[in-house]
């Protein structure tokens, strides 16, 4: 509120155009926050199961710190699984890095929509999580970075807080799979995929190819590799043309 009042005072001296752009980006952050709440709810529940699984392996403090500073679900689960199986720190980090490697193609996709210097772009990249990145997709390869940052905001406290609950109340909660918590993320990603498929026939083809690549590689490669490899399915875009539905049908 006080920010808004201060903004109103400053309007007199400030260039109106810059003020309008700032107002617009604030509105997109707020829209992102609202859109990010359902995923934050799911993330809280998945984080509880992460806390439950991680505590016997990592103790009480490390899982919470990990959620606060790594902030990447699948990589955290993978690293803990390696440590639980008696693997070394190197093996755990490699597993986590492989699962996070998809953030490189995701970041390249996001990059064309980013403005500002390298530091600012690197900072916005830190707000990339699968759900908010996909929700910020506007078709035709465009993204709304302000919306993405907003969509990630509710998930952060839910992810860290959920981990703490899982660590501290693990004995009460028992086996997280008994509650079906392990299907929350795939079900959520399916919902986001449905939205992407409305981008046209090429999007459907890319999804089918990506799914096939991931399933085909899973038995033969370490976890994470099938997902990065599946991003190659996006090369189908080279077969399209600028008049195709994928390009013209924006803002779904």
């Amino acid at each position: 509120m006080s920010f808004q009042e201060h903004g109103a005072d400053a309007l007199v001296i400030r260039e109106e155009k810059g003020e309008r752009a700032r107002e617009d980006s604030r509105r997109r952050v707020e829209a992102g926050i609202r859109a990010g709440i359902p995923f934050a709810v799911a993330a809280a529940m998945v984080a509880i199961s992460f806390g439950v699984v991680a505590r016997p392996v990592m103790g009480t403090v490390a899982p919470i710190v990990m959620s606060a500073i790594v902030f990447a679900g699948s990589a955290q689960f993978a690293a803990v699984a390696v440590l639980a199986a008696g693997g070394s720190a190197v093996a755990a980090v490699v597993a986590g890095v492989l699962l996070n490697a998809r953030y490189f193609p995701m970041g390249v996709a996001l990059a064309a929509s980013l403005r500002g210097g390298p530091l600012r772009r690197a900072a916005i990249g830190q707000a990339m999580i699968d759900a908010s990145w996909a929700m910020a997709s506007r078709g035709g390869g465009r993204f709304d970075p302000a919306f993405m940052v907003g969509a990630t905001l509710p998930t952060y406290p839910c992810w860290v807080g959920g981990t703490a609950v899982g660590v501290l109340a693990g004995d009460v909660i028992g086996d997280p799979e008994r509650l079906g918590l392990d299907v929350l993320f795939p079900a959520f990603f399916l919902g986001l995929l449905v939205g992407e498929l409305r981008g046209g026939k090429l999007a459907v083809a890319a999804a089918c190819l990506g799914a096939a690549i991931a399933l085909a590689l899973t038995p033969f490669t370490p976890a994470g590799v099938p997902i990065i490899a599946a991003s190659a399915a996006a090369l189908l875009g080279l077969a399209g043309n600028d008049n195709g539905r994928v390009d013209t049908e924006t803002r779904g």
Binding site: R121, A122, C208
Partner: protein, 103 residues
């Protein structure tokens, strides 16, 4: 430093570097049209792969058909009726998977 804390610290740095690498390396300029058409399909490809792996991948790099598939299929059913009922879809998915495991 113990294996646990080494993992936490190194994975934190690595994750931050990976998340920054895309935006820093190609950010802030217009990309050629063909590349934009490829980028437009990255989300569909990655999301489909994530759904498959998180539904069918077992512990030791195997494919498994279990209660997860039932739950995700139930979510698909909800989304067929209302494509924006995300929260309802994930809650139904968890409930169906939990129920299938209970019986």
């Amino acid at each position: 430093m113990s294996d646990v804390w080494t993992t936490v610290v190194v994975l934190t740095v690595a994750t931050a570097v990976i998340r920054a690498s895309g935006p820093v390396s190609v950010g802030g300029r217009e990309l050629p049209r063909p590349l934009m058409r490829v980028i437009a399909l990255v989300a569909a490809s990655l999301l489909a792969a994530l759904v498959m792996v998180e539904t069918f991948a077992g512990g030791d790099d195997t494919l498994e058909l279990d209660e997860r598939a039932l739950g995700v299929a139930a979510a698909g059913g909800v989304l067929l009726v209302r494509h924006d009922a995300l929260l309802r879809a994930i809650l139904v998915a968890a409930a169906v998977a939990a129920l299938a495991r209970a019986i």
